[in-house]
Each structure stands twice: as structure tokens, then as C-alpha cells.
């Protein structure tokens, strides 16, 4: 008979698992795997939703950016402002004009929020991958532990076999041989059971290793894809961010200039109307009224018109102030009516 292999240097024997412990471990591992599968399933769905949300948002952002490019190109063309000024005459049209900048900023805010959610999701994927790797590593450790235990148990069985063989050859009459033989047979059965349990533990762990590794690799792939997507999307969003802020204003420039021209035109008209009224008032005060007063006095010998008296009694400056105030109010009323008619 072959001699048993030389015993390894003394090493601690792994604790033999009981059948109950093995069964419980098998159930717990199965439950963990099912929970992990459910978690990964949810992560896959969330990843799909997020990717679609982000992809759609980036598409709209890109389209809005293209609109800005178009508007900016148009704003560089000559004669545009003048043609717009002629075409757009009504102040009420200002309320109907749309701002590319407002729409673009709103879209940018939506996309950046999606991007932050995607970044947070990437962290969660990384965590899940780490946990699954931890599970895989745990299975490897269990396999190694079980195989070590099985090896030690197998060595002991072979040692016991060798001793039994020696006893057999020395003869049944040797003192204490029968007792020793019974003890050895008990030890052999015990170690054989230990060997079987360790082998079962190793096989169970080995069976779980494949699915755990596959789940881990799935999540790793999800994480890699998502991380790359977030990186590319961040780059695109960062690049467009400042461009969005600045180009929004540039794209509206023709519109702004048109509206400011209208405002200036209205101001000019307002001031022209006021100045004209004041000029008329001065003519009225300094020429027409005094003449009229003299005529009335001459015809009726009545006392001075109270108005003429009041006017003559005031300083020239005070007359001007009162006239200015009264006529400004009249001018404002007329301008208000003018603007109403323009927008009506």
C-alpha cells in the first residue's frame, strides 16, 4: 500500500460545518443572490430610464444650441435691424416675442439635474459592484477554507487506514489491539463524514460562484457604461453652459435693439410733444393773453380779469413753473392717448 503523503507542518484545522449549518448557509446565500438579482434588475431599469432622460435632454440642448447658432448668424447680416424695425410697429408685439435664452436656460437646468442624478446613480452602481465583489471574494474564501478542511480530513483518513492496516498485520492477539481498532474505525468514520461535509461546502460555494461573478460583471459593465456616459455628457453640458449663458443674450440682440429703438422713438415723440406744448404755452402767456386782456378792458372798463391780474402779479419764473406743470399734465394725457391708439 502506498504510504500516505507526509503530513504538512502543523496547521489549524478549519472548523467542520454541521449539516444544519451547511443547509442554512445554502438558504442564506440563495436569498442574498435573489436580493442581489432584484437589486441589479432595478439598477438596470433605472439606468435605462436615466440614460434615456439624459440622452433626450442632451438632444434638446443640442437642438437649442443649433437654433442659437442660426440666430447668431442671422444677427450678423446687414439690414436686418432696419427691416425688423419697419416690420414690427406695435409695442404689444413685444409680449409675444419668444426668448431663445429663456428656453435654453430652462433646458440646461433640466439636463444638469438629470446629470447629477446620473452621477449619483453611478456611485450606487459602484457600491453594488463592490458589494458583489465582496460576495465573490467571500465565496472564494469559503471554497479555500472548505478544501483545506477536506484535505486535512482526507489525510487523517489515510493515516487511520494505514494504522488499521498495521494493526491487521500485527495480529488480532496483540494486547489492546481490538480496542484500538474500534477507536480507529470510529475516527475514520468521523473524519470521512468531515471530509464529505467539507467537500459539500466547497461544491456549494463553487456552484454559487458562477452566478455571483456574473452579477458582479453585469453591474461592473453597467457602471463602466454609465460612468463613460456621465463623463461625456458632463463634458458636453459644461461646454454648453457658458455658451448658453452668453449666446442667449447674443441671439436676442436684434430683438432687444428693435425694442429699444421703439422705446427711443416713443421717448422722442413724448419729448417733442411736451416741448411743443411748452412752446405754445409760452406764446400764449407772453403774447396772446395780455393782448386779450387789454382789449377787454378797453371795451368794458371792467376790472382786470382775475386771471390776467394773477398772471401779471406773479414773477416770470413762477408763471413758467405753473404753466410747465399744467401743460406737462396735458401733454402726458395726450401722449397716453397717443400710445393707447398705437397699441389699440
Amino acid at each position: 500500500m502506498d504510504k500516505p503523503p507526509p503530513a504538512a507542518p502543523a496547521e489549524a484545522s478549519p472548523r467542520r460545518p454541521s449539516p444544519t449549518e451547511l443547509a442554512e448557509w445554502q438558504v442564506e446565500t440563495g436569498q442574498r443572490q435573489m436580493a442581489a438579482v432584484a437589486r441589479v434588475d432595478r439598477l438596470v431599469r433605472d439606468r435605462t430610464d436615466l440614460a434615456e432622460e439624459l440622452h433626450g435632454g442632451l438632444g434638446e440642448l443640442k437642438a437649442a444650441g443649433a437654433r442659437l447658432d442660426e440666430l447668431e448668424a442671422r444677427s450678423q447680416s446687414t439690414g436686418l435691424i432696419q427691416s425688423i424695425s419697419r416690420a414690427l410697429g406695435r409695442r404689444s408685439a413685444a409680449l409675444e416675442r419668444r426668448s431663445v435664452a429663456g428656453q435654453l436656460l430652462a433646458q440646461y437646468e433640466t439636463v444638469t439635474a438629470s446629470l447629477q442624478r446620473a452621477s449619483a446613480f453611478t456611485d450606487e452602481l459602484q457600491l453594488c459592484a463592490r458589494e458583489l465583489q465582496h460576495e465573490v471574494d467571500g465565496l472564494h474564501e469559503r471554497i479555500g477554507h472548505s478544501r483545506q478542511g477536506a484535505t486535512l480530513a482526507a489525510r487523517k483518513v489515510l493515516e487511520i487506514e494505514a494504522e488499521l492496516e498495521a494493526l491487521q498485520q500485527s495480529g488480532a492477539a496483540a494486547p489492546g489491539a481490538a480496542r484500538r481498532r474500534d477507536q480507529l474505525r470510529f475516527d475514520e468514520r468521523t473524519e470521512s463524514t468531515t471530509l464529505a461535509l467539507f467537500r459539500a461546502a466547497a461544491e456549494l460555494a463553487q456552484e454559487e460562484l458562477g452566478p455571483a461573478r456574473a452579477l458582479r460583471d453585469t453591474v461592473l459593465e453597467l457602471h463602466g457604461d454609465m460612468a463613460r456616459f456621465v463623463l461625456e455628457a458632463s463634458s458636453a453640458v459644461n461646454t454648453s453652459g457658458r455658451r448658453v449663458q452668453a449666446l442667449g443674450l447674443a441671439a436676442d440682440t436684434p430683438l432687444v435693439v428693435t425694442e429699444l429703438h421703439e422705446a427711443l422713438r416713443q421717448l422722442d415723440q413724448t419729448m417733442d410733444a411736451t416741448a411743443a406744448y411748452i412752446d405754445q404755452a409760452h406764446a400764449l402767456l407772453t403774447q396772446v393773453l395780455p393782448e386779450l386782456n387789454r382789449e377787454i378792458r378797453a371795451r368794458t372798463n371792467h376790472s382786470h380779469l382775475s386771471l390776467a391780474d394773477d398772471l401779471e402779479g406773479l414773477s416770470r419764473e413762477r408763471q413758467r413753473e405753473l404753466a410747465d406743470q399744467a401743460l406737462r399734465e396735458a401733454a402726458e394725457a395726450e401722449v397716453g392717448a397717443f400710445l393707447d391708439s398705437e397699441s389699440g
Binding site: 409695442r91 404689444s92 413685444a94 409680449l95 409675444e96 416675442r97 419668444r98 426668448s99 435664452a101 429663456g102 436656460l105 430652462a106 440646461y108 437646468e109 444638469t112 439635474a113 438629470s114 446629470l115 447629477q116 442624478r117 449619483a120 456611485d123 450606487e124 459602484q126 457600491l127 463592490r130 458589494e131 465583489q133 465582496h134 463634458s235 459644461n238 461646454t239 453652459g241 457658458r242 449663458q245 452668453a246 443674450l249 436676442d252 430683438l255 432687444v256 425694442e259 429699444l260 421703439e262 422705446a263 427711443l264 416713443q266 421717448l267 413724448t270 419729448m271 411736451t274 406737462r328 401733454a331 402726458e332 397716453g336 400710445l339 393707447d340 397699441s343
Partner: protein, 314 residues
Amino acid sequence: MSDLLEGPGEDLRLPQERAGPYLRALRAALHAAAPDQDWPSLRAAALHLHLLDPACSGTLFQPAAVDPGSGLPSHGWLERAAAERRAGADPAHLAGLVERARRVDPVLAERLGWRHAVAQVERGAPVLSALELGVELVRRGVRPAARIRLDRRLPGIGWVRLRVDLHGRSRGLRGLRLDRGTGLLTIEPGLGELLLRHVLSPLVLLAQTLAGACEGDVDRLSRATIGPFWFPGGALPTGLPPEVARTLTLHLSRSVLSREREGLIAADPLRPLPPPPPRGLGLGLVLERHLVVHRAGHGAVAAWQPGLSITPFG
């Protein structure tokens, strides 16, 4: 010389170890300025800067970058923090992730911890928005009055607020819709977008445009800007005295067109004078600028611009 790195596009990248001190200095300057409601919200600005601080969010919102024109945090840097708030992460879910991560990956646990911290800071409180419109009803009736506010972060300029007080004539205010049931006043998209594109227009002409568009009268119109923020190593205008370039200076400027004053009153030597408002409008224009300067450079800045209002901080 600047130790700032050129980042993507035109923004200046801040080395990570400088991000925290930069943000805390800016926050301190803002608190010292204590801007009123003509300026963007101090509370929103302070919270936003706190979220960006690596002491709160670690490397979550990196890279730190500065707008070279305004010296304020770049749009991208601000937007990452604002977007994280808009994403609406559930703190309880994040707490669970942190706990799980601690068992398998300490580095990932730290990152998730930052995300959890950000999700918990003053939940529901606003941060600076890239664009925000608000309106409140001041007076009901045949001649209603309203106050409209537009906040906008503008590249190269800073954080701008446009505020308009206006009243209707005889037919209400066009561009504003009042829900008679709830009493809620909303701005119609057309009016909002008109304000958006005129955020930098001359106030006198903007007042005219608004008056026509709303079929009302403007009583007060203001534009207030936070920025620029000058700091060593940042982009500074040429010709600054060296001792001014070495200190920290936050600018707050304001233009107000209102019926309270007449003519043009200018207390801002750092920008060109606009033409005075026409007399017939009944509106006067006031320009002002306020500097908030680090204590160490206060004397130098005061000597450089003796006519300006200056507040020390730090």
C-alpha cells in the same frame, strides 16, 4: 503671478486647496455687505457658496473654477451644486448607501457621505438660480400695482437682479395674470422673456419698453449687481495699484430709476455716465457702487477711490 490653471473654455480653475479659502472669503464679504432686496438674495448666495465649500461637499462639485470677468464662481461650478439640489436626492436613501459603502469601500463611503451632507443642508432653502422670475401684487383694483423681480447670473458680469415697481392705468397690467380665486399673481411668459433679454438694457429705455408692453407706468426700476470679486491671482483689470490688486474686494453696484429723485445722481466713478433721463419722464436716475474690502487692504482701496463707499471685512 497667478497660480490658477486655465480650465476648459475660459474659466480659471482654482487649485483644490484654494477653493475653500476663496469661498469663505467671498461669503464673509457678502455678509459684511448685507445687501438689501435690490440685490440677489444674500441667504441664497451664502448657502450656495457653503455647498461648494470642500468642507461641506469635498470633491463632489470639482473642478473649482472662477469666471474670469466677474471673479465669482463659474457658472459650471455653481450649476453642479444647484443641479444636485434640483436632483432631489433622498437623505434617508443616501444614509443607507453610506452605511453599506463603509463595509466595502471607504473612499466611496466618503464621497457618498459628501452627497448625503449636501442633501441635508437647509433642505428646501433656495440657492442662487441661473434665472429666476418673481412677482408680487402690491395693490388690487382698477389701477393695480405689482413688483417684479428677475435674478440672473451673467458671465463676465456677476449676479444681477432687476426689480420693477409698476402700476396699471385703467385696464390693469398686461403681461400679469391674477387668479381671482387664489389671489396668486403670475407673469405671462412673454413679459418674463422681455425682462430676460433686457436685463442689461439702459434703464430709461427699459422703463419705456415695459410701460408700453404692460400698458402701465413704471414707478421704480433698479438693476443691482454683485460682482466683480477681485482676489490675488484672479483676473484683475489692468492699471490697478499693486496694493489694491493684492487684497480682496467685492463690488456691489446699483442703478435706480425712480420718481423719488430728479436728474442724474452718480456715485460710481468706475463706470461711464449715462445720459440723464429726459425731464418729461418724471424719473431720476441714481448710480452707486459699494466696495467690501478685506481689512488688510482697506486703506489702500480707500486711498485709490476716496469717493466710494467702502466696508471692511475679515
